[in-house]
Symmetry: C2
Subunit: 457 residues, 2 copies
Amino acid sequence: MKAQESMEDLLDEIKEELEKGVEKLRILEALRPQDFIDILERLDSEDRRKLAVMIPDSVYVEIIAKLPQQVLNDVLKVLGIRRLARIAIELPVDELADLLEALPPSLRISLLRELPAWKIAEVRPLLKYPPETAGGIMTTRIPAFYEERLVGNAVEEFIARSEFEGYDTSRYIYVVDSKGRLRGIIDIKRFLTSPRNKKLRDIMMRNYIAVKADIDQEEVAKLVVKYDLDEVPVIDDEGVLLGAITADDIMDVLVNEATEDLVKFGGIVKIREPYLAARIRELVRKRIVWLIALYLGDLISVTIISRYEALLSAVIALSFFIPVLTDTGGNAGSQAATLVIRSLAMGEARLSFSDALRIIAKETATSLIMGALLSPIAFSIGYIMSGNALVALTLGLAIILVVYVGSIMGAMLPMVTARLGLDPAVISAPLITTVADATGLTMYFTIATLLINYLHI
Amino acid sequence: MKAQESMEDLLDEIKEELEKGVEKLRILEALRPQDFIDILERLDSEDRRKLAVMIPDSVYVEIIAKLPQQVLNDVLKVLGIRRLARIAIELPVDELADLLEALPPSLRISLLRELPAWKIAEVRPLLKYPPETAGGIMTTRIPAFYEERLVGNAVEEFIARSEFEGYDTSRYIYVVDSKGRLRGIIDIKRFLTSPRNKKLRDIMMRNYIAVKADIDQEEVAKLVVKYDLDEVPVIDDEGVLLGAITADDIMDVLVNEATEDLVKFGGIVKIREPYLAARIRELVRKRIVWLIALYLGDLISVTIISRYEALLSAVIALSFFIPVLTDTGGNAGSQAATLVIRSLAMGEARLSFSDALRIIAKETATSLIMGALLSPIAFSIGYIMSGNALVALTLGLAIILVVYVGSIMGAMLPMVTARLGLDPAVISAPLITTVADATGLTMYFTIATLLINYLHI
């Protein structure tokens, strides 16, 4: 809740002090750990390293697993391996796993050598699963007790263990059988206030939702949102309790996946780095591929138009309206695509044949009505601007077809990609535009040719 | 975690049974409350009302505040006011506030008349705040105690009150002074396990984050994500504790705002309804305005091209490349815009002058490199496809300018809208395309004219 200007002032002050070669920055003491992430991102590499030396370990424990790769690399250059190990020991296991993933292989090996065996034992189960699965984002430091234990006995151990080493979660107590299989969960409030002579199995809730370790984190997030869960236990194929995923990790998933969808829709391959911290080379690399691919895709349009050279020479005004026609098809397509992508992402529409039919029916009705409303506008404006009846008629008719085809394609492309096992959000707005252009132009010139032949305009 | 096919089978079975006029559906008993939302959405209005009668109150308590408006309207037609009141009494206050907002005014008044005074007293503070602010999404049923109370004494009351009426939150205990101002928070685990003869003020955490009731829910979500909060207390201008916002409500905010951003970027005015349940009339209404507005915007392009009628008649091949040029400008613009929108949404880039300069510098470097890479491709392909050196040279030069201008505009439009106090996500991909088209075409034809005049091609 810091004013925007004060961040600027703060940065200027920090840069000035660093310039002077100050070894200890007094102002840093007033900051929250998360503010350091913002500051580190905004400094250049040199200042970043100078500042990184001064940041205390307790702050690194809060932020190191969240630093963008580029910033982390600079920080690692000034943290010795001993200091890194001290910080790593304090991290929750899921964050330690993230950090290990982000380290260059040689440093990862050195760090693992420095860590105590019990810490490695805790983190190992997480490293088995890819970082974007339930197993990759779970924590294994959770309160789990055998179902036959007495409440009083379990509460005492819970309190002792909480004080000694802490848990990463404490919303629920997990109850397991003798083979470690999850049997029930107990709300912490209920756990601490139940009669102490009861068994855990007598007070546990048997109706809970658990996820398998290998399912995608996005699927977990959907379940959490749908069923308003606070915490989700993670189990293996035999039902053995492996860990739990907390609400704050799910929020990170939601934010990342949602903004990733937006970025993909804008025609960019996955960028996880914050924009301001990303290197130019990286930005060019992620964007140029798409720009070139779409450029080549648009050459289909060039080919189509060039085939009608004779028609265009005769009625040059037909060329004036090319952008308005292709854009409208693309716009109708983006609208339909975003609605369908959202619907699939929220688990509302499914990939079934019957939902596809429902969507086609809805888009057919919607787009034909929209086309009917746009058509007289297109005709009138076309006639006023070109003074040519052929052009006006062509525009009035083509716009209906263009909106219809654009909408159906925009709606179906995400369904098809999802069916192929790809993320529906890879259907970007530019891709729809490119596809819509080709069909739109073909219809435009076909209608113009037909009108010339049949109406002798 | 239901297979997609089984939802279809289930729906078919339900429809069949409803057809037969069955009064009680056995299969409903096996479903989770949230599954009813999916089912109600997919049924037509008639079947929906038939099914709505059979759904038990306990299920409505879980789902009624989450039903899309259209579905809710149908459900309300079969629920009597008495039954609605019984359900409403059981709702958490924030959900009751949402329900009251969604009811038609006459029904809202009848419902308020049926509710007990204590329930109205609980919900009234929420109704004072717009639904999309912190005050609108908070719950007021939270455990709050006076700072001078003894732990033992507070624990007893907490347990008694929990059993009697329950709290909507139980992650933290809130500690207030004699004027009701928030002074600290206590983790529930710490609260229940602290020595009973201590005062609350001695065990409370004084370092917490609270939000004012009138700030936007999106701002709350950003804080929660940034600082990994589980629950956020809401206070008024004097610091008086009003309520708290729970993690699950923040997740709903994140999902809604993120998908809203996506939908806006696709060129659609706010659609909160699920797509499959939305009425055609509604879909047309939300989409046609944009389509017409963008159509009219594209007429600027028509005007620009028509001014170069003489040039086009002389070199007709110039018209073939209109779509590829305008699309590329729009594509570069969408890329830049999505990155900046994301960066603003995540609180990474700020609306300061210095961040604007940083972004312009980054886009200038990135886009000029991309233009330099695209230029020889554009020239070569242009020469091969048109056999015309003027066209090829024009394409090769224009593409650099188009990518540059598209990127800078795409990056700056979200900054400018945000500065004007509007949501940066209203800068949709179609809008960028429309603006990029006009500048792109002007540059294209200007370069062609200059080349003709100076090179005498």
